[in-house]
Assembly symmetry: C2
Homo-oligomer: 243 residues x 2
């Protein structure tokens, strides 16, 4: 039976082996949720980038440039990291160079560890994601992006939700998976109430973020496609379609 | 109000600041549980050491030498890491040089980060520990020893149990604390059933460990003292007394 492992933060990646495994990168608030929105809008491809400085250079190569640090849009960029920004129909057919505090870092680190595939996970596409993982039939590693190398609640809770969809065809290999699944079972009927208590939801409140990004990102199965890495880019191999 | 943070594994210590904080090192299965047993038996002091090679040298300086790797006693040492070994009355008044896979490593790493105090935490002394933390009245960081730099269930579950005793006089500062507390609330009446599912309990089963170390280490409040670091040693400042 194929196995599931869960990694709470990119800082722990060096202790794992990703070779020949399906890797799901998770940044619920907000990078991986926002990427799903972008592909639903019709974005062509997304280039994940480590630093804002490097990201800015891609403006010269006809990319839309998007950068977030500390939950805020970085000044001088076209866009930040709110899912609502990525609903703009102007983005259809465009390429985006994208850097965020946690999510794009996790993707870059996982990429360097030669996994079989890197999939982009969010509540917005959770059922399609679970189906694809089962079809691929490889051991799976769920990589939570966390917050600045520390644990966060919403990514782990999503990990637990995804594990719940993979059982009993997959088995949990480690305590981190077991614990994430326990957390999900406890809060499955109250996901938003728990996430509202998280550090990141509190951060949005302190920053007076006007859009309700938390509620938006916790919606399940708005989309039936799964973005994935192809070379250095994130693409949507299936044609993007809203459910 | 004083704050609580929880760190899942020593590998994440570099992302935290321990200065002027009370640090609790937690290795439920088994190093910190076993240290409590040792002081109840009347051990004089314990020297935590990083490697078996270094630990062995202390045999020449009239120490009892104890070493565990991968849940087994290391050949050539006086003792391993089972709490039952440390109940031997022969140990009264003795000094022990001690190295384990996770717990002594976590202690050594935390020590290098200049905390206010390092306390040794276990279910065996949880109520005394909670009282001491409150008396010290500093921000507190709970450092789980994990398993080879990865998350483990039993240390986090204990963190949640300790947090439950510290609330509402302390407040949870991070998602890791919040999540550990959720896990404890869910399993507080079934702690052993959850820990039996953990990787480490499974490891004991595979290794055919004969003593029931899991049940022993989950007993609450056998002791009313709290071992702590003093210089390079772990000592029991209060006189050891069984409840």
């Amino acid at each position: 039976m194929q196995k599931i492992e869960l990694i709470h933060t990119p800082a722990l990646l060096p202790y794992y082996n990703l070779q020949d495994k399906t890797v799901v990168v998770i940044d619920i608030l907000r990078a991986t949720s926002t990427m799903c929105v972008a592909f639903n809008t019709g974005v062509n491809k997304i280039l994940p980038i480590a630093s804002p400085e490097e990201c800015k250079m891609f403006k010269d190569f006809d990319f839309i440039i998007a950068a977030e640090r500390n939950a805020m849009k970085v000044p001088g960029f076209d866009m930040g990291n709110s899912p609502f920004e990525f609903e703009n129909p102007f983005l259809a057919g465009k390429n985006i160079a994208f850097t965020t505090t946690n999510g794009t870092k996790a993707i870059k680190m996982a990429k360097a560890m030669q996994p079989y595939k890197i999939l982009i996970g969010a509540f917005l596409n959770i059922t399609a994601l679970a189906k694809l993982i089962q079809d691929l039939n490889k051991d799976v590693v769920l990589v939570c992006s966390g917050w600045k190398d520390k644990y966060n609640l919403e990514d782990t809770l999503f990990g637990g939700a995804l594990i719940d969809k993979l059982l009993p065809n997959f088995e949990m290999e480690d305590d981190a998976s077991l614990s994430a699944h326990c957390l999900f079972l406890q809060y499955q009927d109250n996901i938003e109430s728990l996430v509202r208590k998280s550090s990141h939801a509190q951060r949005f409140k302190l920053l007076n973020v006007q859009t309700d990004d938390v509620s938006f990102c916790l919606q399940q199965d708005l989309y039936s496609f799964v973005p994935e890495m192809e070379g250095e880019y994130i693409v949507n191999i299936s044609s993007a379609q809203a459910c």
